[in-house]
Symmetry: C2
């Protein structure tokens, strides 16, 4: 299956690209507003995988081109860019596309990080509102530490929470998540349940900041 990682040049996009290319046979495509940057990163990921004996072709394109013909499009961009990015790729999406959103809104003050909840209810619901009506939206991969995800030597052993109103789209993303070794997808219900998932990300950062020896934290429900 073709997966396009928009914003696949940094942060959580890098980790998802490397993990899917390393653990699965999915066709991984990197998207960026700057196609040269997308291509350079794609080559960098190929080199990283080759150093581990995995020969994979990863391509890089401008976002709309990357999204074109992808079955799954992951919006691995900051929360304040999700609406613009969805608008820019709208013509590349159709009723077969599943749009996945891992972004959360945060702000920082002297105490730590806080969830900055958008008027739409959550960043996930903001994406659902911006997406064409026939495109299914799934919230997933919100609470993964980027550095740990991108380090293929790091064991995960953590959970990721899925929200969607379309059960078929949710099932598809669950399969994608299960493809990543050590990542357990859990169903958290409909899109309306996204705020509490997004709020978990600043909490993970606050816990890492306040406890020696804990960093790049994930969460396990048990």
């Amino acid at each position: 299956m073709r997966i396009a990682l928009l914003g696949g040049t940094g942060d959580i996009g890098e980790g998802l690209a490397l993990r899917w290319a390393f653990h699965t046979d999915h066709d991984v495509v990197i998207g960026s507003r700057d196609p040269d940057k997308a291509r350079a990163k794609a080559e960098e990921y190929e080199t990283e995988l080759a150093s581990r004996g995995v020969d994979r072709k990863i391509t890089g394109f401008e976002n709309a081109m990357a999204a074109d013909r992808a079955r799954v499009v992951v919006l691995a961009v900051p929360a304040y860019h999700v609406s613009d990015t969805v608008d820019a790729i709208a013509d590349s999406l159709d009723d077969e596309t599943v749009l996945v959103t891992p972004a959360t809104g945060m702000q920082r003050d002297d105490d730590g990080f806080h969830y900055n909840r958008p008027g739409a209810g959550s960043v996930t619901e903001l994406v659902a509102g911006a997406a064409p009506d026939d495109v299914s939206v799934v919230g997933a991969f919100h609470n993964l530490a980027a550095g740990r995800l991108a380090d293929l030597d790091a064991d995960l052993g953590i959970d990721t929470l899925l929200v969607a109103d379309d059960p078929d789209a949710k099932d598809l993303v669950r399969l994608l998540a299960e493809g990543i070794e050590g990542l357990r997808p859990l169903d958290a219900g409909g899109l309306a349940n996204a705020p509490e998932i997004e709020a978990l990300t600043p909490l993970l950062i606050n816990v890492a900041m306040n406890n020696d020896g804990l960093h790049d934290l994930g969460v396990r429900f048990d």
Copy 2:
């Protein structure tokens, strides 16, 4: 140390009472608005402990009486009762008392449970605002499943998050939490970081509702 569990007749209060009485030597006092109910529950807990070979005296009183001379007072009451309860016990608190709040605000709709954030920022901050100025407030034990906590046969193996602006009060509650086998206290910073902790409780319920085989969930940061 004397610990008063206000609202210790139900929900999370029962579990904390049983665990502290079972695992530690702290003097556990049950508080309720109804002193007869407090005494009846205290006897019930004594019977439960005796059935496990633990001979402990647990007393029950009306809330203000229970809080009197307690070093730590746990407000194990629903969020909509915390202000009234603090007002009712204010004369029993002094600058030596640490007030612990585990309550969170939730509402339910067709999708599941949602964090109902109070105007004060969080229920924890609501308690801090209602408490006399010289009383230190610690947010803790927000995300524990009541049934699992009260079942002394159940292994915990989960974390609880602490927030406080007074580091000494936070340290005291950390020691209390460490006294419960299988419960790991983690520092989540100041009181202003409470909303994201309180929002985790409805998320735990949503995850339990949507995944077969998962119930009475706790969380582990890893």
